[in-house]
């Protein structure tokens, strides 16, 4: 027990650093800091290259994934709060990744998923971790503004032509993103079994593509809500350009202020911003909005068990966000006895979608550079790469949940209606 090296891998750094420093072994301190960092992220099999060229393979490291750390203060920050500082240090250019950023993130996420340190036991407070009480009416407005109001021109560089910022549905894996986003909208319309003349309310409509598609292809009237000012402006302009003003109404307001009664309720990629504290409230809104024979669909990122998003993701990318488990989602439905009719998990489609986004983002780097600085670019590269990795590893899921009222016997007999060719109602 007198040899600090014997404890290198087993004991966190803060218990050893003093002794190591007393011996004046600076190199030993770096090693300990590296191992403390790796320990904190589940001991992934990574190659770590220090500023002086020293290479510190983790025990049993045989991965091609590796990282170059530019200075000791960066390593120190990685050690003290790895999940926050990795993102910031990478964005600032003080960390470089070898062997591909996506592969690196996959290696890390896989080790975190497997590590007993990150136990697969649902944390009932997961959605509160790393963030104070959020998603009130004003909190939501601030959180949504943070991510979605940074400029439509930026999103136009790497999203599809219709500007959908949610998981696409690829009829064939090699289909284009444009095809897949249209197929996704059509799949949703078929799941809702939309009929001409029906009314639909959409909670969180992004740039408004789904509302326009439903109106154009299925002949329904849509009222679509969103609190992102930039998105609503864009959506309204597109509706005017396409002559859909009489059929689609975009409302710049919170989902909690939805009024009226509708044949269908649909929400795509909004639940991630609602937060489990507000699921009961969302259920109230749905209950008062849906007719007796109405059908609802919620499309959301989800998780297999409750765990918090990383503090970096919450701080820099999506404040107030949380992808629920199916268990948590039931708080929306149970109090009104809504019947879950169908749940589909489109995780692999989100891998593909994020791969497209990342590729298009990189292809348009020169144009992004005219809008934002290098720190922004690196942060977004990390975010998009992390999304690919998260869905590939299975730490995130994509659920489409279809529901109706319990006494509704006009529900589909089977799934044949879901299999219609894209674009046909």
């Amino acid at each position: 027990m007198n040899d600090p090296k014997a404890n290198t891998f087993a004991v966190p750094f803060h218990k050893l650093a003093g002794r190591a420093n007393n011996r004046g072994r600076v190199y030993g301190t770096d090693t300990l800091m590296v191992h403390t960092f790796l320990h904190a992220i589940g001991n992934p099999s990574l190659r770590i290259v220090l500023w002086d060229g020293k290479i510190l393979p983790a025990p049993g490291a045989n991965s091609t994934a590796g990282m170059v750390i530019h200075d000791r203060s960066t390593l120190w920050r990685l050690m003290t709060n790895p999940l926050l500082h990795f993102g910031d240090e990478y964005s600032a250019g003080r960390i470089e990744i070898e062997g591909g950023l996506v592969q690196f993130m996959e290696t890390v996420y896989r080790s975190m998923e497997k590590s007993p340190k990150f136990r697969r036991i649902s944390d009932p407070e997961a959605y509160r971790r790393h963030q104070p009480g959020l998603n009130s009416l004003t909190g939501s407005r601030r959180n949504i503004h943070h991510h979605y109001d940074i400029g439509n021109e930026f999103y136009q560089l790497w999203l599809d032509a219709e500007m959908l910022y949610t998981c696409a549905y690829f009829p064939e894996p090699d289909d284009s993103l444009d095809v897949a986003q249209i197929a996704k909208m059509d799949l949703i319309c078929r799941k809702l079994r939309l009929q001409p003349g029906q009314t639909v309310v959409e909670a969180g409509c992004g740039w408004g593509a789904l509302a326009r598609y439903m109106a154009k292809q299925y002949g329904v009237k849509v009222r679509a809500y969103n609190i992102s000012h930039e998105q609503i402006n864009y959506a309204r302009q597109r509706a005017r350009d396409e002559g859909l003003e009489g059929q689609v109404e975009y409302v710049e307001d919170d989902y909690r202020n939805i009024t009226g009664s509708y044949d269908a309720f649909v929400s795509v990629g909004m639940l991630e911003h609602v937060g489990p504290d507000h699921y009961h409230e969302l259920g109230t809104i749905i209950d008062r909005s849906l007719t007796g024979q109405g059908v609802g669909l919620i499309h959301t990122i989800g998780q297999n068990y409750a765990k918090p998003m990383s503090p970096w993701f919450l701080k820099r990318m999506f404040p107030g966000s949380y992808p629920p488990t199916l268990k948590e989602m039931m708080a929306i439905f149970e109090p009104w006895a809504f019947t879950v009719l169908d749940i589909e998990n489109l995780r692999l489609h989100y891998v593909k979608t994020c791969e497209h986004w990342l590729e298009r983002f990189e292809q348009n780097l020169n144009k992004v550079r005219e809008m934002f600085d290098e720190v922004f670019i690196r942060a977004w590269r990390l975010y998009l790469s992390g999304c690919v990795a998260n869905f590939r590893v299975g730490s995130l899921q994509l659920f489409q949940v279809v529901f109706s009222r319990p006494s509704n016997n006009q529900i589909p007999w089977n799934r044949a209606h879901l299999m219609a060719p894209v674009g046909k109602s």
Copy 2:
């Protein structure tokens, strides 16, 4: 406040009966007892005919559904514990139903679902109501024996040719029960994406039809568990008759004693007998039984929100049973981070299945009568009619849940494999 009649509908009988009796108004007492009974079941719109011919329509009653109560002591029992005694008094022939038993049960269930008295708030202790701690190894054996070991000849009278006692899947609503039960087995095989040479474990195999079907039609090896002695004997004989001994092994043992590793885990109609107290344990079994790329399917009756089964149903029909909510089911999957891939709700198919069972039961009454007495027949008529009504009203659901391990990327790209014609792999 001095006129007891003013309180007739608002105050439960036990608070008024004394005063009514003191006035010697026997007819008033009967009225109060009827209204107390109706109040306890959510004030359904029913016609009540008493032994002396008096007709007591409930307030606003306009239903053709009604009941004839043969004597005052029966009415008394209905009032004191309606959910238990209705079943027993009907079985004993002291109650007759007018306008059809299924319609009567539907009227009652609808009123219970709508009544604020039966609030749609999930009861976290629902599965414990009306039953003590059950479903231990010995408790399960006793509970299963109670229902399933009353004679294969009886079940042969009204089940399909393959003896499936779970929800069928009707490709077309007018298909026969035989066709629909085969279609159900095929749907399950496609959901599991069975390939020749794979291994399957089945937890709770009934009379063994699914295990035989999987082996014959999909070329897999199946080990199937069941604790019903009569069912296992029947299943083994059928497997011998069909030359499947090398491919299907029936094990007379509890699901908790499953050993080995399998490409697929399947359980059809067993979860209702497991009980939420044992879902974590079931998850442990699945986790240790399923290969890395394995797929699992659980087919179970479920509910939109947690409420107890009726005490009569628990006492006379299925002791220890409980149909879970989706939220409750997640306790099977979350601790092992299993990924839910697909959930389908086949409620309307269970309406149809139960209608077939009830019809066949009635058609074979003469043969049933050779085996059992009139009390048994009436109890089973009530049970099967109640099932039709429960699924029609939506107080029960039928969930098929498909799941895999989180890191399994060999999951289906879409649902095309589910749409293959019946009998094709």
